[in-house]
Amino acid sequence: MIRSILISIIFFGSTLSVTAVAEEFDFIVSGGVDSARPVAVLPFSWQGDVNGPSQDAAAVISSDLRRSGRFNPMGRHELLQQVDNYDDVNVDLWKEKGIEAVVVGRITQVPDGRLKVAYELIDVYRKNQEIVNGKLYTSNRNKLDSYSLFVQPENLRFHAHRIADRIYEKLTGERGAFATRIAYVAVDRSVTKSHRLMVADADGYAAQEVYSSSQSIMSPAWSPDAQKLAYVSFENGRSEVFIKDIYKAGKALRVAAFEGINSAPSFSPDGNRLALTLSRDGNPEIYILDLNTGRFSRITNHYGIDTEANWTPDGQSISFTSDRGGRPQIYRKNLFGDKPVRLTYEGNYNASSSFTPDGKTMVMINRTNGLFHVAVQDVETGAMQTITETQLDESPSLAPNGSMIIYATVYRGRQVLSVVSTDGRFKARLPSKKGEVKAPVWSPFL
């Protein structure tokens, strides 16, 4: 099992170096694969020029499925059949090997240069024959999904993620989040522009720089339409909040530069408001900036530190970190007047809260016995459990489907990104090739 994983990752890596896609991360599975469901993603066939496709779509899909922690795709050298369409799949062969689902596909280059990508997903255990009135009929009920689309060659990789999303949804009933992106801060103190705000595909590929500075960058946050990032920059010597359009050239908009700290931006679910922390009135308080009117309204009022506001999925409340009780704990406040309610009691430090899209689970950083770990808390019962064993964890960010958490941690003396499934069963690291990476934030659905 372990060996097959390593081999397929090597294959994956070598495929990409051949196609010269800039890769910023490795992906190293560090635990929790045993519970994953066995599937097989067969290499997609190619009809086109001799150079072949720019991306190994099947390898991208395989890697995505593995990265979810829910699936264990078979290593390519172990595959039992080399076919590219539903009709040729020998279901019994795969059933013998315990494979639950098979993915086949083909890519055809059309004269205008675009690629026609087609795929099918087959449920190995669902019967495709039935007897009606004493006669045996063959149906295609075991074909769970099929899909065909024309794409530009440069978009092939992202479309492979979209296919992985479809497979994931068909097999789990939950929307996939592979065709998403992450923003993060890369730090390399050996160069002048030591801090870079980056955006990459969720698997770390196609990284591009959004902004760079010789000074610190903190707390990137996505707008709900995934077009903008809010972030904190020290480019003017102290913390100020900016919003930048990722895909348009031009300067970032400075939205908060008051006396004191300006930090921790968080877009409201409707994208019209930005919660943030300002200490302009003496100590850090949560404010909400109406992005249409430019008006700030103060949400908290306490001499303790209030910061790290995060919106509940319904946009009616915020959770935030406050040390009004002595040590940092998470509180929740309805925006229409209630007093804040304390949510956390386990450990003497709980911070960086966020909620899964269904609102049932809160994710946070917990400190117990001096160790900082990612933790989840059942919103209804208040039961908390830590789900990581890594060191100095910070900045947890949920995938838009709530299934995975990306966070920053220290591994072998370097700050790296890691992922953990929200149920804590699957864990992986994404060490960068150079420098350090931190403050990861997962994009909304794209």
Binding site: S216, M218, S219, V232, F234, G237, R238, S239, G260, I261, S263, A264, T277, S279, N283, P284, I305, T307, E308, T321, D323, R327, P328, Y349, A351, S352, I365, R367, F372, Q391, L392, E394, S395, V410, G413, K438, A439
Partner: protein
């Protein structure tokens, strides 16, 4: 008293312009020279004023104390050692001739905990230092505070040896 002998004492303590006045005066009229020069010279015998001596002592004390005070984990309380550092700087800043000098207090945290909370904690540390400086007589208009949170460690390790150096507030006179 000869003019030559008197002239020597003038050379030691008086300014160049005073010397010029002496050189240009008539040596035949000794009494007149003594009378005009004497009021300017008599108060000068000590080589350094108490103020100058105090300033020098303070400069040495500031040099020895450095510009950094350190904090315990989670805390913004300045230790007695830190207070001594701040007292030395406060004396300097509160002198009338230094009233135009502005010091920036940069607050920092170690890497543990969340970056946004640490940014707030760093501000609390820089403000704790500002409060102490003011309690020692520094004008609030001479103090600026900036928090850097955990963003600018001086020691890059991931252990207490580095963390204890990074939990700090630094006085910065470069404007």
């Amino acid at each position: 008293m000869s003019i030559v002998k008197f002239g020597k004492s003038v050379v030691i303590v008086a300014s160049a312009t005073l010397l010029f006045a002496c050189a240009g005066s008539n040596t035949d009229d000794e009494q007149q020279v003594v009378e005009t020069v004497k009021p300017a010279v008599v108060p000068t015998p000590p080589t350094k004023t108490p103020e100058e001596l105090a300033a020098e002592a303070n400069a040495a004390a500031r040099e020895a104390a450095g510009t950094t005070v350190y904090f315990e984990l989670d805390e913004d309380v300045v230790s007695s050692k830190g207070r001594a550092v701040l007292e030395a700087h406060a004396w300097f800043l509160s002198q009338a001739e230094n009233s135009g000098i502005v010091v920036t207090v940069d607050g920092h945290c170690d890497e543990r905990g969340t970056p946004a909370y640490n940014l707030a904690l760093g501000e609390r540390r820089s403000k704790a230092v500002a409060q102490i400086l003011m309690s020692y007589g520094v004008s609030s208009s001479q103090i600026k505070t900036v928090s850097h949170g955990e963003q600018e460690p001086v020691a890059m390790g991931h252990d207490e040896a580095s963390w204890s150096q990074n939990r700090r507030a630094v006085l910065d006179y470069t404007e």
